[in-house]
């Protein structure tokens, strides 16, 4: 993943190469109704990995954050004795159509494996292309369960599905309540009303009754993703007299909600988040001391694993002001899967490479769970989630017990006494 490799890739993007022609013939074969055949490429050189991320558009910030996981990967993979990867960057522009066309372009330019794309919709679009072209696609982040329920042969996901995330969230909430010897009796459920928020809200409705939760949801408040102001939402939530907040949000609304909590002089016992926003770097930077307290239930890294410490050190060195997070971890692990498979396959041949990805069994990894391996559907069903709390500007794992490094701070410290 050197600069020269990247520039070579960029150079290749603008010209017709032997690989382009071969890939074109492959695509033509598919169109003609033949089954996708293996695209054979010379072994020995670095594996060409097309990394598709939303680098512009509304998700640009997150896409660029994922890229940090790519930037720090090369020396770590080398240290692990894995082969070199040649990264080919693609921008999905935060939309599905571009994700599809960029995937096609990267494959046309010689990509032997695809990684991406943070978002479920964009990942689903890339998965169709990967399947059609017969190129392995390792999803870094996308939670929609249906992606790995389509019977795809070339699609692999090392990220928990929404159902797993929710199940783990409720399990770990019970673990936390037991740990602190206290639990809220009522919560207000606040969620953003975009695709992610509404599907999570639907999932919560289905998963929560399976657990004997100590609280009742007194009110569900859905708000617009593009909301400019969330004062009404917090006023309404406060008026219910609920003990805690259950939230599914994004970054900007997490900041807005926190500001309103402070302004309206309300510190709930806890903010329990089942989505992004509350643990992100920008949240800390924007809110300073006021960022402390919320607990997020998210796919995360196991701080006790050796490779987590290596990745964290590399991140700290490259980005001293950035806390390592989900985006970095799972993007890095997608590259780890690629390099590991390439080493075992010994070739860039798409079929052999796909089989190598399918038989992945990495135990020395970063994320929570028993390691990386894929079931028949291409899903890593060993990957788990963690409960992380914002404490002193850092993200501390407080559950599950096996990965926890500290006890939960409960209740949240009052906003007016910080």
């Amino acid at each position: 993943m050197t600069n020269s490799n990247i520039s070579k890739a960029a150079g290749a993007a603008g010209s017709v190469t032997r690989r382009t022609v071969v890939a074109g013939i492959g695509a033509a074969g598919i169109v003609a109704g033949t089954s996708p055949f293996s695209i054979v490429r010379a072994a020995g050189g670095p594996l060409k990995v097309g990394v598709l991320l939303p680098r512009s558009g509304v998700q640009a910030g997150i896409g660029q954050d994922c890229q940090r996981g790519v930037e720090v990967a090369a020396p770590i993979l080398k240290e692990l004795g894995l082969p070199e990867l040649q990264i080919m960057n693609g921008d999905t522009e935060s939309n599905e159509q571009t994700a599809r066309s960029q995937a096609e372009k990267l494959i046309g330019d010689g990509a032997q494996l695809l990684v991406g794309a943070f978002d479920s919709g964009q990942s689903a679009a890339i998965a169709q292309v990967a399947e059609q072209k017969g190129i392995p696609f390792v999803i870094n982040i996308a939670a929609a369960p249906q992606i790995t329920e389509q019977g795809y042969k070339y699609v692999f996901r090392n990220f928990p599905t929404a159902v797993t995330i929710l199940t783990d969230a409720f399990k770990q909430q019970l673990e936390i309540f037991k740990q602190v010897g206290s639990a809220p009796k009522s919560v207000v459920f606040l969620h953003v009303n975009d695709t992610f928020g509404t599907s999570m809200a639907g999932g919560i409705g289905k998963v929560m009754p399976k657990f004997d939760m100590p609280y009742k949801v007194t009110e569900t408040i859905a708000y617009d993703r593009a909301a400019r102001d969330l004062s009404v939402e917090i006023a309404k939530a406060k008026a219910t007299g609920a003990d805690a907040l259950l939230v599914v949000s994004r970054l900007n609304d997490a900041i807005l909600l926190t500001r309103e909590l402070v302004k309206q002089r309300w510190t709930p016992e806890a903010v329990l988040s089942m989505g992004p926003g509350w643990y992100e770097d920008q949240y800390f930077k924007t809110l300073g001391k006021l960022s402390d307290g919320p607990i997020s239930f998210v796919p995360w890294y196991d701080p006790k694993k050796k490779l987590s410490q290596t990745l964290k050190a590399a991140m700290k060195k490259a980005y001293p002001d950035v806390n390592m997070n989900t985006n970095h971890v799972y993007t890095f692990e997608a590259l780890l899967v690629a390099a590991d498979a390439y080493k075992r396959a010994g070739t860039g041949d798409s079929k052999e490479l796909t089989e190598a990805v399918r038989s992945t069994n990495i135990t020395d990894n970063v994320s929570i769970g028993a390691g990386i391996s894929f079931n028949a559907k291409g899903q890593n069903d060993k990957v788990g989630d963690a409960s992380i709390q914002n404490v002193g500007g850092e993200l501390i794992v407080v559950a599950p017990e096996g990965a926890a490094v500290a006890k939960t701070v409960w209740p949240m410290p009052p906003y007016d006494k910080r």
């Binding site: 640009a60 910030g61 400019r228 004062s231 939402e233």
Partner: protein, 290 residues
């Protein structure tokens, strides 16, 4: 739900509505006189927000004190934009004008992305999290300051158009351009001045708004749409109408969020818009065109 909750929400909506109104004044002033629909409205306001952010971060100037500085800078921008670019296309069909303004909007977004990146950024003033307790009311201090500032700027604008010779000359241009030329008014200069005043309003609104919300390059279109809704409800080209429309939208959005669902806020704005278009197409304070 307790009465004080409704009161709190209504006051908050009223204060937010004042800022919406100020922002919509910029659109109304430009359309009322030059008859150009400024599709870059929101993006120009975002420029004002970013300018305030820079002044706050690098020079430590409170956004409220930034209002005259940013307004002056955007006045110059607007004046030059009208005189150098927009003036040359006013005789072209409407869709060409729309395209030009949309192109300017895209350029502003790209420029902001290049300079400031895609992340949302905000100012953190010392009083950011303070609130006033007035009886049962708990009112956000920033919102009060912002609302008062919006009221003052709007008042100055009304006074300018009503009591100064230049303001009267601009209104004359808006009412009858040929007549204005006949009596010897420098219409080219007055148009540029009007565009500058419109963008200065946006600068002021941006400087105030950055106290309430974080700015990012993609914020513009939603405010362009909001301003259109406000000026259509209030009456296209009517300055008091723009302010009234802003207040109506601010309060109705806030109360709709409370009474129904917060995600219904936009539906209420658009519902009001449809109602006004059906019952009073010229807007609440607009003049009927026959």
């Amino acid at each position: 739900m307790p009465v004080e909750l409704y009161l709190n929400v209504a006051v908050s909506g009223l204060l937010t509505g004042l800022i919406y109104g100020l922002s919509a004044l910029g659109l109304s002033v430009i359309f009322g006189v030059i008859r150009i629909v400024n599709f870059a409205h929101g993006e120009i306001m975002v420029m004002g927000m970013f300018a305030t952010l820079v002044l706050f971060r690098h020079l430590g100037i409170d956004p409220l004190y930034c209002i005259p500085i940013v307004a002056a800078a955007l006045f110059a921008f607007g004046y030059l934009l009208q005189d150098l670019v927009v003036r040359r296309i006013v005789h072209l069909p409407d869709y060409m004008q729309f395209l030009l303004m949309a192109a300017i909007a895209v350029m502003i977004v790209s420029l902001c992305l290049m300079i400031f990146g895609p992340d949302a950024q905000g100012v953190q003033v010392a009083y950011a999290y303070d609130s006033f307790q007035i009886g049962p009311l708990l009112v956000d201090k920033v919102r009060i300051y912002a609302g008062i500032a919006a009221l003052v700027v709007s008042g100055l604008l009304f006074a300018f158009f009503r009591y100064t010779d230049t303001g009267k000359a601009i209104r004359a241009c808006g009412d009858n351009q040929v007549g204005a030329l006949v009596v010897g008014l420098n219409v080219r200069h007055l148009f540029a001045l009007t565009f500058g005043i419109g963008t200065a309003c946006l600068g002021a609104a941006g400087a105030i708004l950055v106290l309430l919300i974080d700015v990012h390059p993609y914020l513009g279109p939603s405010y362009t749409l909001l301003a259109f809704i406000i000026v259509i409800i209030g009456g296209l080209g009517s300055l008091p109408g723009a302010l009234l429309g802003g207040l109506l939208i601010g309060v109705s959005e806030a109360l709709a969020g409370l009474v129904f669902q917060p995600s219904m806020k936009s539906a209420v704005s658009f519902g009001l818009l449809i109602l006004v278009l059906l019952l009073r197409p010229q807007g609440l304070l607009g003049k009927e065109v026959r």
